[in-house]
């Protein structure tokens, strides 16, 4: 009876019914529509159809989760998702353009089911008008990954922001890496010329003190002590006692330093401030760790060098990621 109404009038009537109630969301609106039984045929069909869609999508997901984690499975799942979506569109047209909220509800349900099993494969939203072919999907995913990485490289290599296109970017990267390698050669030559090997001890001490002093302008006394301490770990590489550096541990372990979408190699021009507290002292040294003006914390004051390496990799990555965290860029390293 009412199913013979035009969709527009149907909507109006239901709205008029629901005026007294609170404003329902779109999805609940459609649910109410069905529940109130105003449209026995079509809602039943949609309700019957919707669980089918759900089932198919869930079945697809469970199937694919059973298989090994390979590109093919991800492709197939994408394909199926694409098919489901296109099916949705077809059904929508069948119903004569009505019940838009119902299709949206289906989409939301599909999204929910899709989100729940995100761990197994990559999700790709198939946009309208784009091919759902597995090959083209794979191609698109591959292209997106490449473009993400090219963006990161663009930020890293100076003077690359204007260049678009893969070939030009690759050219710049190659030039940059080559120039860096040549610089290393040149510098090693210069070092060999400047300092004979016997002075290396003195040189090392000086270099250490330089590195430390430059970055902590205050507290010269602690500089002196720490530089001496640093010399010792250098000279007696293996026989060092770990210096209790509680501030450092705090720094390493603090959970608030862990960002959630951390980015690798994000814009080097942004500055990051991290407050670092020395283990023994009361001073807190804000430092900015990037090119241009940088200051290093006394991270290794008296600490065993090996302790740095045997810190579990997770922590290292988190710290480094935090230090680089600025604009939210693509996440390359986990």
């Amino acid at each position: 009876m009412q199913c013979l109404q035009s969709p527009v009038s149907r909507r109006f009537s239901s709205k008029w019914q629901q005026q007294g109630q609170e404003q329902p969301s779109r999805h609940s609106y459609s649910a109410d529509l069905c529940v109130q039984g105003g449209l026995p045929d079509i809602p039943q069909r949609s309700l019957a159809a919707a669980p089918n869609f759900e089932e198919t999508s869930v079945a697809v997901l469970s199937d694919s989760s059973l298989r090994k984690r390979k590109a093919e499975t991800s492709l197939k799942s994408k394909q199926d998702l694409g098919k489901v979506e296109s099916n949705c569109k077809r059904v929508k047209q069948e119903r004569g353009g009505g019940a838009k909220p119902e299709s949206k509800q289906q989409n939301s349900r599909k999204e929910a089911s899709g989100d729940s099993s995100k761990t197994d494969y990559i999700h790709v939203r198939v946009r309208r008008g784009q091919a759902t072919d597995s090959h083209s999907l794979a191609e698109r995913v591959r292209r997106e990954r490449i473009s993400q990485r090219m963006k990161c490289l663009q930020e890293l290599v100076p003077g690359c922001s204007k260049i678009t296109g893969k070939a030009g970017m690759l050219d710049e990267i190659i030039n940059y890496v080559q120039s860096l390698q040549r610089q290393v050669e040149f510098l090693s030559m210069k070092l060999a010329a400047v300092s004979p090997m016997e002075d290396i001890d003195l040189l090392s001490r000086e270099a250490m003190t330089q590195l430390v002093q430059r970055n902590l302008p205050s507290r010269s006394s602690s500089m002196g002590i720490s530089s001496e301490l640093m010399d010792q770990p250098f000279l007696h590489f293996d026989s060092l006692q770990p210096h209790p550096c509680s501030g450092l541990n705090m720094y390493m372990d603090s959970p608030d330093l862990v960002p959630d979408g951390s980015s690798f190699g994000s814009s080097p021009n942004s500055l990051y401030r991290v407050e670092f507290q020395l283990g023994r002292g009361t001073a807190s040294f804000p430092f900015q760790s990037l090119q241009g003006k940088y200051s290093y914390p006394i991270c290794a004051s008296g600490m065993d060098c090996d302790a740095w390496f045997y810190v579990p990799n997770k922590q290292n990555n988190k710290i480094e990621q935090f230090l680089l965290h600025g604009s939210s860029g693509p996440q390359i390293r986990n």
Binding site: I174, V184, L187, A192, S195, M197, A207, L211, W308, I332
Partner: protein, 202 residues
Amino acid sequence: MQLTSTFKLVFLKQMLLGVQLSAASSNSMSFHERKNAIKLSADAAIAFARGRTRWSQGLITNLSKNEKNKDILKSLLGRKYDNLRKPYCKSLKIPRSKKILRRCLRMCSRRKKAGRAQHDVCKSVLAKALAKKRIQVLKKLVPGGESMDGFSLLDETLDYAMSLKAQVDVMRRLLKTSKALNIKQMKAWGQGGLDFTAGGHL
């Protein structure tokens, strides 16, 4: 990421240690020997400081191809030497099979493209060829790059470039300090000489 101070300090320590070791092993070194020793210790130091990545492993394997360097590397890197020398992936089987696959695909695509319009094919083929050439060059540049595919190659390049930058930076500072040191020494000697000869000036 590697522009952090920890990386730089670690690198510096390792490098200076390496130089010390090589100086200890041979008493008098020519200029070239010195330069090679410095370069070797610098490279080993970045690989050490970075940890276990593909390029660092490639670098260590390249360095240890020269027999003379092996001992120095072993003593320098210590425990990490074996760690870094372990092959990341199962030798060259993967790249070989990929090459075969690519060849087959190329044949298939060539047959397909015979039917398509000419100018469309030309553009895409040209672009791909250009990119391919450059990727090949990049593979030669980045240590251990031959056995990597497109994505990981870009990743590793990024990593490698950052550590190279840090390396250059630290070496520059080292150079500065050594120059300053030399100047200081010269001044000290100069003053001592002056004091000795002319009764000195205050």
